[in-house]
């Protein structure tokens, strides 16, 4: 199968959906003339013209509102946030408008907008530009949240997000844009709310998403050498949560570690751990393990960033603790 980059998989998803549906358009900072801050929209201006690939001012609240308003009258906008650190400015439009229109209009309005962009730590970008903010969105009913880990998932999930009748927050790990993976030529989509077992195993489940899938797979490879057979479940969609996939895996392994890039307090990982400890209590052999970023703003110092983020070693350690292996 052909291999393409993560950013090109996103480009294909957007372009194919714009071909398929004339209501789909892309807007955001630098998406047109500059081909995207992370080069996700290369060639799209030439292909679809300035009416469908629109450069916006540096005004996240404003252009998020324009996109959300367009969605409410039947368009299917893709609003690119240069990074989700800046999307904090647009939270009022996202949480107070997009998330609530279907509910508050009694179903008369829907809001089929995709708000996508880079999230997580990118390397040496400082505390304000390195945040994993998915918990903000997962918290809010009315929003769906997707976070792909591979080019294949990125393309199939983004197409689903664009076709979804509700607002979808689509967060792409900044560090993964240049990663390569197999993506078929032919049309496919990945359903909303369906997790994917990225590695099968019998001894311990790692539940994770986005960039941490790769850290977890590295840890699983090392643990396999030590005789511990780890299953890696990639949630892919954080809301709605694929509870069945979690149940199936934890019932098999009886041990679980939740690995997330972000902070641990009131996080996606804490909610997943909460679900497991209540729903799967009788299946647990050890307390639910957690690996997460340190509870501090991201250090700017290059050598401190990897120490602040989860890494292979502390995932290995957490799995061994859950397996009662010294």
């Amino acid at each position: 199968m052909r291999k393409i980059l993560f950013r090109d998989a996103l480009n294909e998803a957007m372009s194919e959906e714009m071909e398929r549906d004339p209501d789909v358009f892309l807007m955001g900072e630098e998406v047109a003339e500059y081909n995207g801050a992370y080069k996700c929209s290369v060639g799209m201006l030439d292909r679809f013209g300035p009416k469908r690939v629109i450069d916006t001012p540096i005004a996240e609240l404003g252009f998020a509102g324009i996109g959300i308003g367009a969605a409410m009258v039947g368009m299917k906008p893709i609003v690119e946030m240069m990074t989700f650190n800046f999307a904090i400015l647009a939270l009022d439009q996202v949480m107070n408008t997009a998330a609530k229109m279907r509910y508050m209009s009694g179903g008369q309005l829907s809001c089929p907008v995709v708000i996508r962009g880079a999230g997580g730590a990118g390397g040496h970008l400082g505390a304000q530009h390195s945040q994993s903010l998915e918990a903000q969105y997962v918290h809010c009913p009315g929003l769906k949240v997707m976070m792909p880990a591979t080019p294949y998932d990125a393309k199939g999930m983004l197409k689903t997000a664009i076709r979804d009748p509700d607002p979808v927050i689509f967060i792409e790990s900044e560090i993964l844009y240049g990663s390569e993976g197999e993506v078929p030529e032919e049309e496919y989509t990945i359903p909303m709310g369906v997790a994917d077992v990225k590695r099968e195993g019998a001894d311990c489940t790692i539940i994770t998403w986005s960039r941490m899938v790769h850290f977890s797979l590295d840890a699983a490879a090392e643990l396999a050498e030590q005789g511990i057979d780890v299953e890696v479940v990639d949630l892919r969609t954080l809301r709605p949560l694929d509870k069945e996939a979690i149940r199936k895996s934890v019932k098999k392994t009886n041990r679980v570690v939740v690995v997330e890039e972000g902070w641990y307090w009131a996080s996606v990982g804490s909610t997943v751990a909460d679900f497991i400890s209540r729903d799967l209590f009788d299946h647990l052999d050890a307390p639910v393990g957690r690996v997460h970023q340190r509870d501090i703003p991201m250090p700017y110092a290059y050598n401190l960033e990897p120490l602040s983020l989860p890494n292979k070693d502390n995932i290995v350690e957490a799995v061994k603790r859950a397996c009662y292996v010294d």
Partner: protein
Amino acid sequence: MAELITMLALSPTMDEGTLVEWLKNEGDSVEEGEIIAEIETDKATMEMESFHEGTVLKLLAQKGDAIPVGAPLAIIGEAGEDISDVMAEVENGGGSSAPAPTNGASEPATPAPVQAAPAPTPEAAAPSKPKRADGRVVASPVAKRIASDNGLDIAQIDGSGPGGRIIKRDVEEALKSGGAVARPAFTQSFESVADQEIPLSQMRKTIAKRLTQVWNSTPHFYLTANFDMGKAMSFRKQLNEQLAEAEAGVKVSVNDMIVKASAMAMTRYPKINVSFQGDHLLQHGESHVGVAVAIDGGLITPIVRNADRKTLSQISTEIRELAGRARDKKLKPEEYTGGGFSISNLGMFGIDHFSAIINPPEAAILACGAVQKEPVVDENGELAVGTRMKVTLSCDHRAVDGAVGAEFLIELRRLLENPFLLVV
């Protein structure tokens, strides 16, 4: 003049008592009414007081000795007094016809009912695993579930997790290693475990003696009825919700309701509230209800007095308090004697129904099974889901006839099936 102190009957049914502790040593002075020893009777651990004042000249029993009522315990007199006369009396079987259970006793007619060496306790002999100080067995949820699914006693498995937590691996290894740790009821044990003699506690002796006596002397008959507890359960739910809202600190149980209903029914049908006394029946004037409480090594029946006049929350509080002290063996004799009727409830163990042996001198006891959902035919002849409890009334036929028992059950049914009557 030196006085011989003998074992007193500290409970109405005790034949012998076990010396738990001397509170006085030889040479100590004693006031009249002062506590000199703690004695375990068949029902409770009691304090034994001295009727004499003076100095303890000789202790004639040792901790752990079982001493028949009337047998010598100690000699009290004036300091330095010659006790040879009293000792001679002791050696001649003084105090009572029973042999004195002391080392000083010479050639008793029958062996003294005391073992010279400390009796082996079941705890010491049984191959039990070290537990946490608080007695909890710490195990992971899945370990508990696998052990339970396979009929393993998880307490008998060594934990290899942190702090001795029993984890899945330990249970799987225990399963692999065969039946050594399995409950005998489920799996065959291949290791031979020697039989052992477990000495009878005072309580076990009394239970054995009295129940044999009752069983042999009392013609029992049994009446079983199936009560509709639907209203009672929803009444109880409402009541407890309101009690919780009011932060009353009380939660009314099904058993509390049965106690109250029984006492009310006794008042209405006093013919059940009698004792057979050989040549006459004793009609009790008040409605005192005994509640059988399982305690370590046996059971005891503390009495809720005048339960017909008490509210459900009073009854609930009182039973909880009495049961707590019963488990600590701190009940006073008057708290477990003098009832007119008893209730034994095994509903919490999921028992459908059973019959109980009468607690003399009472004439009847009510055995209650579990309240459970079951298919019933309703008044329209349709199959429906009902909430039912089976009760069995055991009656002493010398004192009570079938119709009397049945009338009592009709009233009890009326009260429990119309539970608001319990609070008016």
